[in-house]
């Protein structure tokens, strides 16, 4: 890497990433707040009622982005866990640790709002169909990864054990995504896919996308803030942390 341009690998070091993360946070925090405000306004005032479900379908604008984020963040966490296991960069494991609580929160929101949607529309809060059950397993995986890490005192062993569990659990993500195609489920199929035109009106689609980017930005903010805390905690004996603390005194 002697050619020109910035050396991106330098940011694999926690010392270099700590200030970068701090500078990045506002760039995601502002979109998170603005897009959430716009998205919620569109959800309640702009998007039209649905021809069959009336107003209750508006839960979708929280439910679907949360469910997408729950799966996407799990993949991100698993990729970081794999990097931590294979390349053994310390920052990767810290990122995996930082993403998990946000992913668990979105999984919980998806399940919770889904229950609120299911009761008036289907007639049941909960059904043991493949989509709902696999999403519940995703919540247990997130909690399991976090609990396993918390149960092991030695940081490197904790990284390895929880990273392995995160990787094993990644098989669940395609199961969640394709469950509505592979099996009979009460949950409806996907309205938006990469291979077919979306089966919803354009303004509904835009509302959904705005909310998705709002949630995504939120995930960036919380993960970056959390990883800064993790870096400080793990590097508390490092010289650069001591120097930084001295400077702020």
């Amino acid at each position: 890497m002697s050619s020109g341009g910035p050396n991106w690998f330098k940011y694999a070091s926690p010392m270099a990433f700590y200030p970068l993360a701090g500078r990045l946070i506002p760039w995601f925090a502002v979109p998170a707040v603005v897009l959430t405000a716009i998205g919620l306004y569109m959800t309640f005032f702009v998007a039209p009622v649905d021809y069959r479900q009336g107003d209750a379908y508006r839960i979708m604008f929280i439910h679907v982005p949360a469910a997408w984020m729950s799966m996407w963040l799990y993949i991100c966490m698993a990729v970081y866990a794999a990097l931590g296991l294979v390349v053994r960069t310390r920052l990767s494991s810290m990122m995996a640790q930082a993403i998990a609580p946000t992913g668990a929160m979105f999984t919980f929101i998806a399940l919770w709002t889904g229950a609120f949607w299911g009761k008036p529309m289907w007639g049941a809060w909960w059904v043991w169909d493949a989509r709902l059950t696999s999403e519940l397993i995703l919540l247990f995986l997130y909690i399991g990864v976090m609990a396993l890490r918390a149960a092991i005192d030695d940081t490197r062993r904790a990284d390895r054990a929880s990273g392995l569990l995160a990787l094993v659990g990644v098989v669940n993500v395609p199961i969640i995504y394709y469950s509505v195609q592979w099996w009979n489920t009460l949950h409806q199929g996907a309205s938006i896919s990469m291979t077919a035109a979306p089966t919803m009106s354009r303004i509904m689609l835009w509302t959904l996308l705005v909310m998705t980017f709002a949630f995504w930005a939120h995930a960036f903010v919380t993960s970056l803030m959390r990883v800064r805390g993790i870096i400080l905690e793990r590097e508390r004996h490092a010289e650069w942390v001591a120097e930084m603390v001295d400077e702020t005194k």
Binding site: P48, V49, R88, N184, G189, T199
Partner: protein, 154 residues
């Protein structure tokens, strides 16, 4: 191979192995993962006979009959190949309509009637404003009358 490549190979092989194992497990338990049986399965006897099962399909248009004196309803569930008549006493979910998806839980009675204890509505993945739905319905009616879609022919 460097240690790093070895670790990568180990992780990749592990993921493939777990993926394959999951595939075979899910394939073996396919019937257990299915939430409901279709009318074709029930008529063909693939569904358990004397156990509580779920039956899923579309409510056939014009098949809904309400009893005048109580909450008992009869309707036909179809998968466009076979039909099963369902009897249910209770309040139907708001989204329950003819021509839409439904999942009923219950068991087959000896006379071929499916006695449901719970009826769930299954909605599809289409979302649109009522005006659009009206316009689509009108277009469908026009097409059915033989007029064809507007601007469809030169």
């Amino acid at each position: 191979m460097t240690p790093r490549q070895k670790r990568f190979a180990f992780v990749a092989a592990g993921l493939v192995a777990i993926g394959l194992a999951t595939f075979f497990i899910l394939n073996a338990f396919k019937a257990g993962v299915m939430l409901f049986y279709s009318p074709t399965d029930v008529v063909a006897g693939k569904a358990p006979q004397h156990k509580t099962i779920r039956l899923g399909g579309m409510v056939e248009k014009g098949s809904l009959e309400r009893q005048p004196d109580d909450l008992t309803v009869h309707f036909v569930v179809t998968d466009l190949a076979e039909k099963v008549t369902v009897s249910y006493t209770g309040i139907l979910p708001d989204l329950f309509t003819e021509g839409q998806g439904v999942v009923a839980q219950g068991r087959m009675s000896p006379d071929g009637l499916f006695m449901a204890s719970e009826v769930l509505a299954k909605h599809d993945e289409t979302y649109m404003p009522p005006e659009v739905a009206d316009a689509l319905e009108k277009g469908k009616q026009r097409a059915a009358q033989g007029a064809g879609p507007v601007g469809g022919e030169i």
